[in-house]
Symmetry: C2
Amino acid sequence: MSARDKAISSTLGYALLGLLAREERSGYDLTQALKNPVGYFWFAQHSQVYPELARLETAGLVAHTLIEQADRPDKKVYRLTDMGRAALSAWLNADTELPRKRDELVLKAYSIWLADPAAAARMMREHAQTHAAHLAEFQSGLSNLEGEAGAALWQPDSPWFGVHAVLRRGIGYEREYSEWCEWLAQCLEGTEKGSP
Amino acid sequence: MSARDKAISSTLGYALLGLLAREERSGYDLTQALKNPVGYFWFAQHSQVYPELARLETAGLVAHTLIEQADRPDKKVYRLTDMGRAALSAWLNADTELPRKRDELVLKAYSIWLADPAAAARMMREHAQTHAAHLAEFQSGLSNLEGEAGAALWQPDSPWFGVHAVLRRGIGYEREYSEWCEWLAQCLEGTEKGSP
DNA sequence: TGGGTATATGTCAAGATAGACCTATGTCTG
DNA sequence: CAGACATAGGTCTATCTTGACATATACCCA
């Protein structure tokens, strides 16, 4: 407890290290990767990514090379150092705290008895569709991955396996969310559905 | 767009208003309510609750009465004002943004190909058990609610309906999460399971 | 008597995050 | 030709959130 165990970075830092463990990327690329569909589990703006990369570099976990480009702005391509890889491994083995869930729609559901049922049902149905769309996206992402990665999808030491795991979580999450919205919409419309 | 539409409060503010719409509570009570099991959808420390209540009161959305107690410290019991109820309704009808998911365990899953499979499998199984325990909690919560609320559970204008909706979401979420952890653990152990 | 827990209300500092702002270049579209 | 968009890098401010610190009473248990 005496020394600073966390030493360097926030969870965002490990997200970036996890991406760089697969391939070298610029800050811009990292920010893109932190979006749909794989990066759905952790999001950050570029205004967070650039300072975090600087911190990681100061700590010796990543290093960059300046790439001069004629047709585009120059870029800094970052790669993982040995220390960075070690830090990533240590983090993987450390205890993981439960995420604190904060979901405004569920919060609204708690007060939905104060709302107009018809309007609320419309709202829930819209969200059901949104999550169904995400579900479809993740499902097609997994299909594409199968084509790309083949059997490596199921090998726990393959980078593809990580993508596979995350996509599967996304599929389960979005399916459940969409179904819940549908269920709630049906309740609000008075067409009762099955028991809890 | 000219005027400040959000006028007053953050999402936490609406969480508090939603609780106060059901019954008067002190800041301490609100903080407790923001914990298990119903408040699993939004969490805040008391250090956030007290200042937020002060802001809500300044905005005229809540009001408090000082209750002097002999056996315990005095407390301020807050109640919703008419303006507060109106603000809550307006919020319910407004668009809801998608939550930005941040889940450290899923983030680890993305890099799990770098970890020791056996250790990772143990970790995932532990999390599976944690979520299974939450699932059981929510399920028994729903059972208790059935006894307490009866048919009101299914009436969209009853406060019980809100609790019902949230619990159902919790049940679906925890079930899915637990199953995903189990699936991942099995993959890591080499005992392959069904197709995606 | 000392320590832990529950009740009750707050403040403060540090860090995380969002959203706006800023500068460039090149391409594509109306 | 103007404006939008993608690429590429950054800063800055305000707010959100956490976790520690602070204070006080009453109860229970060793």
